[in-house]
Amino acid sequence: MSGLQIDKLSMRFDLPNGSSVQALKDVSLDLKAGELLSVLGPSGCGKTTLLNIVAGFLAPTDGKIILNGHTVTGPDAERGMVFQQGALFEWMSVRENVGFGPSMKGMPKAEKAKIVDHLLDVVGLQDFKEKAVYELSGGMQQRVALARCLANEPDVILMDEPLGALDALTREKMQGLVLKLWKETGKTIILITHSVEEALLLGERLLVMAPRPGRIHTEYRLPFAEMGVGQDLRDVKKHPKFAEVREEILGMIWDMEEEIMGRTEDA
């Protein structure tokens, strides 16, 4: 059985003061291989917790994650991760960063060099191969992070607000790159974002999560990711349906935020 099954996932943290926080409650999801899922929600809805559990950094209090038929128990090279920023190894060159995964597997040098060269071509950083990562701009660093993740040939790529720290123009370019990579590699991708637009553009499926307890609120199936592969992302955004769904989701999130505010005011 291929694909990623999230089965009745619950997560409860016990706080030192005796109370506990229900970060996730009964989250279930079935993701087919090659699907692109974006996750959206107000802060505190547990989306990063969900991603950390899928990555294997956290063990859920209840439920399980099944990838390609086996249960996830810890981090593994089959699930690659792209972080917002600061996860590159600044003591390594761009080339060494991209080749990190293959190196850990003990891949022969020539084979590794081929993979690294190919990926640097894909993300357009061939000229920066020997540069230190801290000499690169934020957008370039995220391209290195994408290439590093792809070099390892993971089945699932988990992205935790990978474009969150970039400026608007770079962000748009990178969104195009993510779509291109998704189409070319056919990887299953879960992307967490704060930006409604980004979630619409980069989500074949879109999950809106609600907080307290963290749960799935609404799920969408959207055509925009497919459209974005073929055409300019700015044209996709002009699509009438795009604006409609965006307003709908924004309203949903506003309602959730207001509910949270109201609840804290009552307390």
Partner: protein, 444 residues
Amino acid sequence: MELLGNLWGELWAVLVTLFAAAPYVIGYILIILLMMVIWSGVKRLLTPKSDYGSLKTVTFGDESAVTSNTAASIISIVLIFVFWGTFTGSQLLPSFMHAPGPFTGESSFEYTITTPAGDSDTATVSVVVHPTGEEVDAPVVEEGDGIAKNDAIAIPVYRNELLRVDRNDEMGRDEETFITAVDGQAITPGGSVDVDFGRVAMSDKGTLNIVPSTGIQMEPIWLPAPEAVWSRLGEIATVGYRNSTLAEHLGYSLFRVIVGFILGALVGIPLGYAMGLSNWFRGWFDPIVEFMRPVPPLALIPLVIIWAGIGEVGKIILLFLAALWIMAIAARSGVSGVRISKVHAAYSLGASKWQIMRHVIIPNSLPEIFTGARVAMGVCWGTVVAAELVAAEKGAGMMIMVASKFQSTDIVLMGIILIGIIGFSIDMLMRQAEKWLVPWKGKG
């Protein structure tokens, strides 16, 4: 209460000293400002610039607009040597730049005695002020006429001497005949009169105290001239001091520092890693490290001497302890400072625990460890000098301590300068090594 009173007295003495020094400090600040005004004038004439920095209109409060001015550094250093030369009468400076020196050579003054009968007579005292260390006899003078007879005295420079001028006179104290004037000016016991070469004072018993002028130069025993220090450096470098050449003294000190530091790092870094990676080890060693860290290594000297004697072992143990805690804490914070996203990324890329250690945790901690190493080397260098001051047979600290006991201030000064230069060089080397070995420092 008595303690508080005593402490208040001490504080008062300190404040008085500071207050006495204030005019000099203010003078120095005025010199700095004067030089700044002169230099900015010179600079305006030399290079009318329009680089980015000089086009800024807001510079006061802009941290990036403040850089170290090379001209100021050079002037400041040159000025130190000029002051040094001025107040020591250095041969390196033209004599017009010297501060007034002490009086040397021959001079004389007259004194007048008055008998109970009211008669008075005047005689001359010849004074020779000669450099310290030379044997000079008082000049031979004729006694002359009258009841007062001429006298002569030789005084080493910077000293003063009592002279019973009336001893050879026909009538003296026993006859109730007293000195009443010096160079024609009346003098009484406790008073004094200025003369050509300095001052003549009278003690309470009526004896003249001859005080040749000392000028405002420093006595070599307090501050030798730069060239004296330089020539002493040459002498000690070739002949040696206390059975060891300069290279041996400095070499021993450096040897102790390097061995002590390396041993401290070899134990401290793994200890720090263990504390950074394991709850149990952190819990075990935290109390020990946190207790030992604030104990200055110098406070351990007596204990180390009691336990290990004054040989090399004792000193190296001391430096080992000085470096150990610093390196342990640096390694611990280097490990704790790793961003969790880097570790997560490495795990997601398939790295094993050992690979994470080797490729993520160690390189990530190196900048902190280098900072710790720089601090530790500085502390070790300071500690070794201090330890040698207490007890050693060879070493830079021992050299200046022994020299100070023999009042060889030139050696003390030379030693201090060399210790400073070496300490500075060590820091510079460490910084350079840091630049080469951990270029990613501060770039994460």
